[in-house]
Symmetry: C3
């Protein structure tokens, strides 16, 4: 499939990785994840080297993973250390072990050449567990190409339409938008003034008009961080009469499953009511409602694309971010191809 390989992809939110093995497909490859007794996380090929049963149907025993079919026992590095009926194991009695790193409550996997994997380069979504912040999030499986989600997240003009019944403001249609591009980073600043409250805000008793600043940062392969700040319309954060001072960071990372499906990991980080589990629960629920609006639209979009992938399309001013993000990905794909040919 068409995706960068030598990159850190999000594999899970850390809380999803437990002693119950978790199986997912990344870039067309089956991966199983589990947590060792020391808390360390492991990612192995989810395909027993014996008869290709998924190891995610097995169980964790101490630090090891037992295949649920014939009982082969794998140590965390992927080597078989027990098989039924024989002491000596044949060559090849192992599965692939993936470079895997957890940072700030997010787990990252390297599907490419392990020799190139540098844990230091894995994304650090530091807001998620930073002091003074509360993070929560989930994984949403979306039957759409992962770049459709990148487009979606970098063009927030859809807020006023797709999310008009939840998190969008009807008058958020004419923001001031600027983009800054580095080699492997793209940053947009989107300022929208005098916005009416969204339906969700109204439901929460929040009816003031606001000025909103959103800083969107894309890094390849498919991470989008959106830092959101809002103050009362026409006021500044420092103004003592300002009655709104919302800060929110939305973390997004998409990992391709197939060419037309992906895992969409999202996190919501807030700097208020950070110890209030009820607020966390409410954020999880209401964000899921809003992001399901994206899921259903993007899956419909993918089906329409599949009908005729060559159908023409136009780009609008709001697409600047998505187009540049795709260009970064395309350039890196070309570089990977050149490197692969050179290595042959």
């Amino acid at each position: 499939m068409r995706a960068l390989r030598n990159q850190w992809y999000c594999a899970a939110l850390s809380h999803e990785i437990t002693q119950a093995p978790l199986g997912r497909i990344f870039l067309g490859e089956p991966v199983v994840m589990y947590r060792k007794s020391d808390g360390g996380a492991v990612a192995l090929e989810d395909r027993c080297c014996h008869r290709r049963a998924p190891l995610s149907r097995g169980q964790v025993e101490g630090d090891n993973l037992r295949c649920g079919y014939h009982g082969l026992l794998y140590e965390p590095g992927g080597k078989v250390i027990w098989a039924p009926g024989q002491d000596k194991l044949p060559p090849g009695a192992q599965v692939k072990s993936y470079p895997f790193v957890e940072k700030h409550g997010w787990a990252w996997i390297w599907m490419g050449d392990p020799a190139l994997a540098d844990p230091k380069t894995a994304p650090a979504f530091h807001w998620y567990d930073a002091p003074g912040w509360a993070g929560c999030g989930a994984c949403l499986d979306v039957k759409a190409n992962y770049l459709l989600l990148v487009d979606n997240l970098l063009d927030l003009s859809h807020l006023a339409f797709l999310h008009i019944k939840t998190i969008g403001a009807a008058d958020d249609t004419d923001p001031h938008l600027t983009w800054e591009r580095q080699d492997n980073l793209l940053r947009g600043v989107r300022i929208a003034r005098n916005l009416s409250p969204s339906q969700r805000q109204i439901a929460q008793g929040d009816t003031l008009r606001t000025d909103s600043t959103k800083i969107m940062t894309f890094t390849p392969p498919a991470n989008v961080v959106i830092e959101i700040g809002a103050v009362e319309a026409g006021k500044t954060e420092a103004d003592p009469t300002n009655r709104v001072n919302r800060k929110l960071v939305v973390l997004d990372s998409m990992t391709p499953e197939t060419d037309t499906s992906c895992h969409y990991f999202w996190g919501n980080c807030r700097n208020y009511a950070i110890d209030d589990a009820a607020v966390t629960e409410m954020v999880l629920k209401s964000t899921s409602v809003a992001f399901d609006e994206d899921k259903f639209m993007l899956e419909a979009e993918q089906r329409i694309i599949d009908l005729n992938p060559a159908a023409p399309q136009i780009d609008l001013i709001g697409d600047a971010g998505g187009l540049q993000a795709r260009r970064i990905v395309e350039r890196l794909l070309a570089e990977e191809q050149v490197a692969a040919r050179a290595a042959e």
Copy 2:
């Protein structure tokens, strides 16, 4: 896919087209339909020119259609008249608009070259809303090639078997059958005498034996009108002792969705109890029950065909109509190919 393009295809029964956009796939192309404030019906490409979201997930605003993703607003001709964040629209900011005409409660679309679309040539199913008649109908999605439905409707020998528990008479197996073929029209007259009542008739307290005449008219691409008349067995309509004088027109039009699925539009027109909504409701329900028998059989037939499309088959006398209808379609397909080549 293999289907005539320069033809009027049924797109909907008029009552299905409202201010809630209706999306369907015709000949592999996504189409959205809605009704303007003046009552006029519109059919546009159901694929936003921006990011290819289906417009049928949007909403009608006055006479225009708003994309539910980023809010692009389309006028009824398919041109974008508003997009988020910019006043000047790029070239190509439009979707295809299809020739669309409503006649007698049925809506027809032209998927081919718009220059060739002549509204006068769209079928007129005039019984559906004629004075002295009551029409009702529905759309049934069938996972079978549309021509399997043409075969079905032109060979009514299946009534005595497939529909034996509903609308078929067990002894309706030896009708007198004649066919008349014109260039683009095929008409069959099927006379069956001394038929026992069907289970549906018996359930309605109708137990007389009848003589039945069915006039089946096929026109391309896939319309079949069946005019049904029944009198008491051995009597004439004029005979004062004749206790049966049923008249019914069944309207059928099939529009390919893919090579192995279609939309089946049907209407039932009666000349009795025309203002009785309860009768209409009963007709809708009981016809749906009978036509579901067709749907389930044709979908099973399609699955068997898919297992081995080259499996041999024989033709019986009852297939004369279906075979001639297919020949008309094949001849027109060849003509379309010749015309397409000439135009290149």
Copy 3:
């Protein structure tokens, strides 16, 4: 698809064949089975020669089968003997009739050249209805290649893992295993001593440790008979203090539907409580629970294989049987190819 053709395949358990037509797909071909008034079983092509409707949607009339679409009547040999509207039938008015034989409550079909079908060579699962034995069984549809089930049944090391909550003993991991191979037969003897009781045995109040002998016999294309005997651990059958004397024969036959799905027929034959319907019911239920564990694992295995059919795998000592069975099948496939070429 890749499967032997000139072989007897299991088509049904005899009790499944009634006067209600039963449709199944064997080796990619649709087959309908029914029982005549004299009790004889019939297997015909499940595809009407007229419009290719499945005959399994029709009904049996005396010894004949009536198509449910247009009423064509087939005699048990597959010839059409009635069609609507005409006395003289065209050439080709018939469907394929398959050599079909029932033995001991199991029905066998020959999908290849009928001239080569010798009923004497059809498997005889004699335990199923032998005096002193009670047999019961069922058909399980499994979305996995049929050879994955052969692997499964010839490598019982999975008992201690996949079936640990039902029929497996946790310490059944080091049996004594020997194989004997003939041209078209493979037999393994698997002796496991001092086994703890399985969860199912414990649930039935059976807590003694046992010595178990399993004789597994594979014959092509895909039959596996497993004769199971158990005595109290360390004792012999003849020992008057021996408190366990279980005998069980598990019959298995797999018939490919497609390359990645099959019908799995299984039977359980016991020599105790043979007239007790409640025990039969219990055996059917608890065996279904255990075999569903296989079904779910094999379907998961097939999905993993489909992701990358070329992924490497290792063989363990327990695979000796499955590998030899596959070699027999491969040799016969090669022989069929040679014979097919010679016949051209």
